[in-house]
């Protein structure tokens, strides 16, 4: 197994491990209980409401029904899910508060999908040899689920940074109520189990602030001072001094705080208890808690579960609320600017661990279970109810299979679909990119503004600037840079856990004044926050030194209190005017972006986060270090994703070409895997003769791409030769093709289930069999057992297999329905796991078909520089131009492909590969290795010259047809060519006659159903412009819905013509009903759809008349 590859999928695996090992128990403990009315007559008042609660839930390892280990390959091949049983215990507690158990129930919660290579997977820790033994790839790294045989990846999504107050302006907030302004502070509060809730502060034009939260998908507002007073026993004075923090000169602030305190006062309520009682009474109805709860308990329930949930302690909640208020006033006043919520600095990642939140469905399950029976005293019914309805595994399966979220709370997410994607094994590059892709969220895809799609400087080093698709998802679907890591949750990392514990006292020792000591600070003090909790404040002058110290210790790792994955985001006061709200914000939470740079002070590697990067001074090259520089990048290519880093000499290309190459590499027919024999994917591509590129970047071997090559080194001439190379077409040497250039095949797996679509009675009565083998004359196609021969070429319409039905006592031959010749590679018989059958009865099987896909004219090829082209002609070798040494190109492309696209990298690649081929060495093409002083052309030119070639790669060439020398020397060398998956065989469309639409009688659309190609408006326009009316008539009527209609010239109607069939002869007679005669009737030619229009109009009482001359 490759450590580098494993690193790429680590965020997924860590996250799943967190889910299975840590979060599951946390969320189970935190799941709100279900209260049941105890209807037993002898119940006293404290026992009126019983409580139903999960005690614990565990996930084991995947097993089969016979308790043997289930391995991923078995799930893949049989089209089932790779999942492990989840078991839980539910406790029935005798009162709403006490923990006295009445009874516990063991419940089977169904099979939970298991991520491959996670701690719950059998493959974890296996060596390459063991993996191969288990029919896996040698380099299998996991990180995905297997759902119904498909490999599914949970898509990483961008979320707002956890537990950090972000100041925003949103025009939409103005219509939240009277006086509401666009100003607000939002905070995404993340619980220890990594489920989250977003809280907001809103600024009202008169200076008040209200607190907004979501509860059961509804918004609620609370005056912020009321909330402050509900959290701790406090006074107006304390609130005032805390918010103003000694800055009494600032009348803007003092006025507004005073006003807020005055205006938000509810009559007669002063103490914490009174206010809690008041809040509780407001939410009693909504909270849906048992009647025995007091108002205070209800209010506490609301505070615990919906207000700033990352901090369980009320004093902490109070403190951060104060900071949020301060920040909001500072922004409204204009002292600080708004934060940019679209910038990576305020982002983190949503990971598969959010599966946990999905456990909330279990709550609904309880309710269902309870509703199923009326009284609590019927134990048996109770147990039965659990057995029936607690299949959470099924929900998870559905979630991963479709990517759709079914949730009552919305889980603080902005979308309900698109959470899971298929990890397409088209080629290895595409496959591995799935694990690095990160989406901004479906909600943003619908936004018309393009600002969110912009490449922000804040994302430097974390998100790849090159690797994003063009078109609709541009800028929304990004990819992590190769060096970017996603932090683990502190609970998974002992060092980080220890650090969080020790850090506060470390900070106190280094200049931070604890909030526990005093609440009165200097006006110029900065808040110091750790994971969204106010630790204390620090004097402005001391902050920089503390931050430098923390960063130094972070890089050395010597200090236990400073974990290496801590982010030290320091927004200095001197840069805060109109900028970020000043403070030191420390984060040790999971799911943050981090990347490695060199700390120049310690000379060691340091992990930095996007929020701290903003104020850091990092040089890209070591020679660029200045006095103020504190850090240095590991390499200038560190900003690229794995895939963008594979483009050779990408620094020489025009930037969009590198983007196109990222797209195109993902469409190449390459090597997706080596275990073809053990896969039943719907479609797999394979290229026969693949090579390792002569010219490649460092990452090519680092990320083991050479183990999965996706092209071949082709001899290329850049010349305009025959005319068959115009407009991005390319000529391929026919002999090169015959020797195997670009040869490939496609594998398709056809699942056949004989019982599919049959009624229950008929099921299991039909199976593969060929009892009539002596008489049916099918020996040529079908074997004795009723299945086709392995290795046979099967053609459309030929007999495929035979089945025998015991009901009809008849042998039926099924024909091959495919439209393409195929080889039968393999037949796998699937056993039914649900029904017990005699082992000889075959009802379900998979046929692996192999299709020949050698290049044909029209197939697509591309180099690695966004230069795609179609094969236009297989040109005979003797007609190909040749060099003096007798070399003939495999590929000819037109020089016009270069000037406008400026893919100089491709020219350099050709040069480098030519030199590499002569000298017998692989060339390094990593970006930014060459510069003006040390140019690539010089480097490779010298190599060429040494070998007796022209310095610039040009060679005199002779025409293959006339034998004469060309007037110009031709640029000639070697270029790595990829074959793209777009093939004529999948796309050609042809039709003479065929199915028509029932209503219009026009040809139907769609290639699959033999439809036509639309002759649309623009095509019509061009025929009109050419004045080719006959041609127009031919296309739009004769070849489409030509029909003959009878019309009455007198009344001009087609609908009034009645056709009568004579009773005594075969002839029909027509008459016009309105004119009562047939003498004006005449036949005209019409498009049939016109008669339909007449009928439609007639239905709304409009008569359409034709004037016939």
């Amino acid at each position: 197994m490759s450590e580098e590859l494993r690193q790429l999928v680590t965020p997924h695996i860590d996250s799943y491990d967190f889910f299975a090992e840590k979060a599951l128990s946390i969320i189970v403990a935190g799941l709100p209980p279900v209260y049941i009315n105890n209807r037993a007559e002898n119940a006293d008042s404290t026992q009126k409401h019983w409580r139903l609660k999960f005690k614990d839930v565990t996930i084991s390892k995947p097993i089969k029904s016979d308790n043997r280990q289930l391995f991923p390959t078995e799930s893949r091949q049989s089209g089932t899910s790779y999942s492990a049983p989840m078991v839980g215990t539910v406790a029935l507690l005798k009162s709403p508060t006490s923990d006295e158990e009445h009874e516990t129930y063991n419940v089977q919660l169904g099979n939970i999908p298991v991520m491959v290579n996670s701690s719950r997977c059998h493959l974890r820790g296996l060596t390459s040899a063991q993996l191969v033994k288990n029919h896996e790839e040698e380099l299998e790294v996991g990180g995905y689920f297997i759902i119904n045989g498909n490999e599914k990846v949970m898509r990483m999504l961008v979320a707002n940074k956890a537990n950090h107050p972000i100041a925003l302006t949103r025009q939409g907030w103005t219509n939240r109520g009277p006086g509401y302004t666009k100003f607000g502070v939002t905070l995404r509060s993340v619980r220890p189990d990594r489920s989250s809730l977003t809280n907001n502060l809103h600024y009202i034009s008169d200076g008040q602030i209200t607190f907004r939260f979501y509860f059961r998908r509804q918004e609620y507002f609370i005056p912020v001072t009321l909330l402050l007073k509900a959290l701790v026993d406090t006074t107006d004075k304390e609130i005032f001094t805390q918010i103003v923090q000694g800055d009494f000169e600032n009348t803007f602030l003092t006025d507004r705080v005073e006003l807020t305190l005055r205006e938000q006062k509810v009559k007669g309520l002063n103490t914490k208890d009174e206010i809690l009682d008041y809040i509780g009474s407001r939410y009693r109805h909504k909270a849906n808690l048992p009647d025995s709860f007091t108002n205070q308990q209800i209010a506490e329930y609301m505070i615990d579960n919906f207000f700033l949930v990352h901090l369980p302690d009320y004093r902490d909640k109070f403190n951060i609320l104060i900071v949020m208020i301060q920040k909001l006033y500072a922004v409204v006043q204009g002292k600080n600017g708004c934060d940019n919520i679209d910038a990576t600095s305020f982002h983190e990642v949503l990971l598969p661990e959010r599966l946990t939140e999905y456990l909330e469905v279990s709550r609904a399950m309880y309710l269902k279970a309870i509703n199923a029976q009326k009284t609590i005293n019927e134990d048996l019914a109770f147990k039965k109810a659990f057995d029936r309805s607690l299949n959470i595994g099924e929900k998870f399966n559905y979630f991963l299979a479709t990517g759709n979220l079914v949730s009552s709370s919305g889980l603080d997410l902005q979308q309900t679909s698109g959470f899971a994607i298929i990890a397409d094994k088209l080629n290895f590059i595409r496959y591995i990119s799935h694990f690095r892709s990160i989406h901004r969220g479906a909600f943003f895809a619908t936004m018309k503004t393009t600002s969110i799609r912009k490449l922000m400087p804040e994302s430097f080093g974390f998100l790849c600037p090159v690797h994003t698709p063009d078109g609709a998802p541009c800028g929304l679907l990004n990819h992590l840079s190769a060096n970017c890591i996603i932090t683990k949750d502190p609970s998974q990392d002992e060092k980080s856990k220890e650090g969080v514990r020790l850090l506060p006292s470390f900070l106190m020792a280094h200049g931070v004044t604890s909030i526990d000591v005093t609440t009165n600070f200097q006006p110029n003090s900065l808040p110091v926050m750790l994971n969204g909790k106010l630790i204390g404040r620090i004097n402005d002058g001391l902050a920089q030194d503390l931050v430098d110290l923390l960063r130094y210790l972070k890089s050395t790792g010597d200090e236990k209190a400073v974990p290496q994955t801590m982010e030290v985001a320091y927004a200095p006061k001197e840069q805060s005017k109109g900028g970020q709200y000043p403070g030191i914000f420390l984060f040790t939470t999971g799911a943050r972006f981090m990347r490695t740079v060199i700390n120049l002070k310690s000379g060691k590697n340091e992990l930095i986060g996007p929020q701290e990067q903003l104020y850091m001074n990092i040089s890209i090259m070591p020679e660029e270090v200045r006095d103020s520089t504190t850090h240095c990048e590991l390499s200038p290519t560190a900003m690229f994703s794995v895939e963008a880093n594979l483009t050779p000499f990408s620094d020489y290309n025009q930037s969009p070409r590198n983007m196109y190459q990222c797209q195109m590499a993902k469409q190449t027919m390459g090597t997706p895997l080596h275990s073809y024999a053990y896969r039943t994917d719907n479609k797999l591509y394979k290229v026969q003769n693949i090579q390792r590129p002569i010219v490649a970047t460092e990452n090519q071997s680092k990320y083991r791409i050479n183990d999965y090559p996706h092209g071949c080194n082709a001899v290329i001439a850049v010349v305009s030769n025959t005319g068959y190379d115009m407009e991005d077409a390319m000529i391929i040497n026919k002999s090169a093709f015959e020797r195997g250039f670009g040869h490939g095949s496609v594998y398709k797996n056809e699942f056949v289930d004989i019982d599919e679509g049959k009624s229950r009675l008929e099921m299991g009565k039909t199976s593969i069999s060929r009892p009539n083998y002596t008489s049916d004359n099918l020996d040529q196609w079908i074997d004795r057992d009723g299945l086709p021969y392995i290795g046979r070429l099967i053609k459309p319409g030929e007999p495929y297999y035979t089945v025998f039905s015991t009901i009809e006592n008849k042998q039926v031959t099924k024909n091959y329905k495919g439209k393409e010749d195929a080889w039968i590679e393999e037949i796998m018989i699937l056993g039914g796991s649900t029904q017990v059958r005699a082992s000889t009865m075959i009802t379900k099987f998979v046929v692996k078909l192999r299709f020949d896909r050698n290049p044909v004219i029209g197939d697509k090829f591309s180099s690695r520089h966004g230069q795609k082209g179609v094969l236009s002609q297989l040109w005979p070798e003797i007609n190909m131009p040749f060099t003096e040494s007798g070399l003939k190109p495999d590929v000819i492309i037109n020089p016009n492909a270069f000037p406008s696209r400026m893919t100089i990298g491709m020219l350099v690649e050709i040069l480098a590969a030519k030199a590499g081929a002569i000298h017998g060495k692989f060339q390094d093409a990593t970006a930014f290795r060459f510069n003006e002083k040390n140019s690539a052309v010089e480097f490779f030119g010298e190599q060429l010259k040494q070998a007796g070639f022209n310095y610039y790669g040009n060679e005199p060439m002779y025409s293959g047809t006339t034998g004469e020398e060309f007037h110009a020397n031709i640029f000639f060398g070697i270029c790595y060519y990829q074959r793209l998956r777009h093939m004529v065989k999948d796309k050609y469309q042809v039709r003479a006659t065929g199915r028509v639409n029932n209503i219009t009688r026009q040809p139907i659309k769609g290639r699959k159903v033999g439809g036509g190609i639309r002759f649309g408006e623009m095509e019509r326009d061009s025929l009109l412009a050419h004045g080719t009316s006959f041609c127009l008539n031919d296309r739009l009527m004769k070849s489409s819905d030509y029909c003959k209609a009878t019309v009455c010239k007198q009344c001009g109607s087609t609908t009034s013509v009645a056709i009568q069939k004579s009773n005594y002869s075969q002839f029909t007679s027509s008459t016009c009903i309105t004119c009562k005669t047939d003498e004006h009737l005449t036949n005209i030619a019409l498009p049939y759809v016109f008669t339909y229009l007449i009928a439609e109009l007639a239905s709304v009482n409009i008569s359409l008349k034709l004037q016939i001359k």
Binding site: S735, R739, W823, E877, I878, G886, Y958, G963
Partner: protein, 295 residues
């Protein structure tokens, strides 16, 4: 070019090796030289496997891939003239006069086994895979590697064909010619250059055509003008030195240096002779047909 009318083409062999030949064709036109080149590549017949019937194959390579590889194995075709093209043969499907049958029956009982051209057993001793007669491990051609329990069993039919139809039948790996260069150094101009400039100028040629003898009278001489590939780098260099007439390079378009390499199916001289024969036959055909029409 009136004198070309009465030219007598001349062929002078410079070198013959086991698999390559170099000769000079002179006193003729480009078209003739190119015709010879084209015929050597595309129309010299050889024998190649063209039809494969698989009986068993559970190796990792698929049938058509193995068949393709078998086709590309060069077969010794010195007796190719004794065979008919199958399409011209009088037999119904195929016979020994138009084809050669091969058998391959390999099974791996050890850990692994490489099936090579040695396993390809021919029915005709004259038509065998190239390199299999001397049995040297470096000259055999690998076909497929087998694992324990895997087996390949097949029957392959080799037929006569030409490279025009499929590249496998082409005996010539390389068949190329170049014009003989005529390089004249203007020694008067050369003397105007400093030693350093002379050195630079000599270095400018990537093919090392020139030689600068620093010890012998500072003379620039032509070491081997055949090396010249007409890249005109020396001309460009001369221009940049301000001496455009320092050297003149001309192509002698009636003298061609041919270089032919074969894949071993035929000897290089056989390829050339066969090609000339084919051109002759084609011309004779035209002649007879023309005469027939005229008469």
């Amino acid at each position: 070019m009136s004198h070309t009318l009465y030219r007598h083409p001349n062929l002078e062999i410079l070198e013959i090796k086991n698999d390559s030949i170099t000769f000079i064709l002179s006193n003729t036109d480009i078209s003739v030289a190119n015709a010879l080149r084209r015929v050597m590549i595309a129309e010299v017949p050889t024998m190649c496997i063209d039809l494969v019937e698989f009986e068993a194959n559970n190796s990792v390579l698929v049938d058509e891939f193995i068949a393709h590889r078998l086709g590309l194995i060069p077969l010794t075709s010195h007796k190719v003239d004794q065979f008919n093209y199958t399409r011209d043969c009088s037999c119904a499907e195929r016979c020994d006069n138009c084809s050669v049958e091969f058998k391959l029956n390999a099974r791996c009982n050890d850990h692994s086994y490489s099936v090579t051209s040695l396993d390809l057993l021919s029915q005709n001793d004259h038509v065998i895979p190239v390199g299999s007669s001397d049995g040297r491990p470096d000259t055999v051609i690998p076909i497929v590697k087998l694992h324990r329990g895997q087996e390949v069993k097949l029957r392959a039919i080799a037929k006569k064909g030409v490279g025009k139809e499929h590249a496998k039948w082409s005996p010539a790996c390389v068949a190329t010619y170049q014009f003989q260069p005529k390089i004249v150094i203007n020694q008067n101009r050369m003397d105007e250059l400093t030693d350093r400039q002379k050195e630079e100028w000599v270095q400018s040629c990537p093919a090392n055509v020139y030689q600068f003898n620093a010890h012998q009278r500072q003379q620039v001489t032509i070491e081997d003008q055949m090396r010249c590939m007409f890249c005109m780098e020396c001309k460009k260099k001369a221009d940049s030195l301000g001496k455009p007439d320092l050297v003149s390079i001309e192509q002698k378009t009636d003298k061609f240096i041919f270089n032919v390499e074969t894949n071993g199916s035929l000897k290089p001289e056989e390829v050339v002779l066969s090609a000339i024969q084919i051109i002759k036959r084609k011309l004779t055909d035209i002649q007879t047909q023309l005469q027939d029409t005229v008469n």
